[in-house]
Amino acid sequence: MKSNNTKGPGNELIDGAKLMLQPAIGLFSWSVVTNLAIIEAGLNQTELVGMSLMVYAGTSQLAVMPLIMGNYPIWTIWLVTFIINSRFIIFGASIAPHFSHYKFLPKLFLGYLNADISFLQFTNRYPVPTSEKSTSQILYFYLGASVANWCIWQIGLVFVIIFGSKIPASLGLGFAGILVLIALIVPPIRSKTSLLSALAAGVTCIFTINLPYQLSIVFSVIASVVAAIFIDRIIQKGKHE
C-alpha cells in the first residue's frame, strides 16, 4: 500500500492545488486578457465581477459580449452560452463516478467549480475508475485543483480592475492561455484512435466554423467521439481477423 493513502484532507487539498502550479501563469494571463476584453467591450467593473462570479466560464462570457452590446434577443445570448458550455456536460459525466454518493447541493458546488484546466489536469491524473485513492481523498484533491483554478481566474480579474488600461495589448498574453490548453491536450494523444479523433474534431471545426451560435463546438465534440468509436471498431476488427 502506498504511503499517500494515509494523507489527511489538508495534504490532499495542497496536492490538488499543486496541479495548478504549472498552468498558473497561462491561466492568469488568459483571465487578464479575457476580462480586459470584456471591460473594453463595455461592461463596468461591478457588472464584470457579477458576471464572473455567476457564470465563471470565460470563453462564453467573452463570446456573448458582441451579442449583449448589439442588443440581440436574450434567448440567443443564452443559446450561445449553452452551446459553448455544452462541453461541461461531458466534463461532468467524466467526474461524476467519483462523486456519485454526495448530496444535491455539494454536487452543484462541485459542478460550479469544474473549469477547463483544473478538469483536464484532474482527469489526466485520476481517470475513472481509480483505486489509487479513497473517495474522500479524491474529493479534497479535486477541491484543491478546482478552487485554485477559481482563485487564479479571479485574481486575474482583480488585476484587470486595478491596472486596467495600463496592460499593453501588444504582449499577446491571451495566447498563453491557448498554449496551456495545447500543453494539456497534446501529450495524451498517443494512440491512433486519439490522434484520428482529434483530427476529426479539427477538420469538423474548420468546416462548421461559420455556423451560427458557435455550433462548431458541438459538431467538433460529436465528430471526436464518433470518430473514436469507428476507428476503435476498425482496429478491433483488424485484430480478430
Binding site: R87, G92, F175, L179, A183, I185, P187, C205, S224, V225
Partner: protein, 112 residues
Amino acid sequence: MSNIELWIIFLGMGLITIFNRSIFLIVGSKLTLSPNIHEFLKYAPTGAMIAIIIPIILFSKDASLGLYQLNFQKPEMWGAIAGILTAYFCKQMLITICVGMLAFLLMKSIIG
C-alpha cells in the same frame, strides 16, 4: 440594454452553465453509463478544446461579413505549431508555454 436586463442575462447564463456542469453529477448516479460510453466520452473534452483553439490559430474574422476566413499568416498559427511540437516531444507545460510564446512573438514581429 437596461441594467436589470443585463443582470437577468447574467443570471440566466449562470443557471445554464451550472446546469451543464452539474447535470451529470446529479442524475449520473441514477443513470449508469456503460463503461464503453465512458471509454469514448474521454475523447470529447479534447474535441471541445480543439474547437476553441482552431478559430484563434487558423482564422480571422472578416469585419464586414462577420464570417471566419482561413488565414495561414497568423503568428498564432506558428506559436501553436511550436507549442504542439514541444508538448508532444517534451510534455512539459512551462517549456511548451515559453517555446510557444517565443515563436508567437517572433512571428508577430516579423509578420506584424
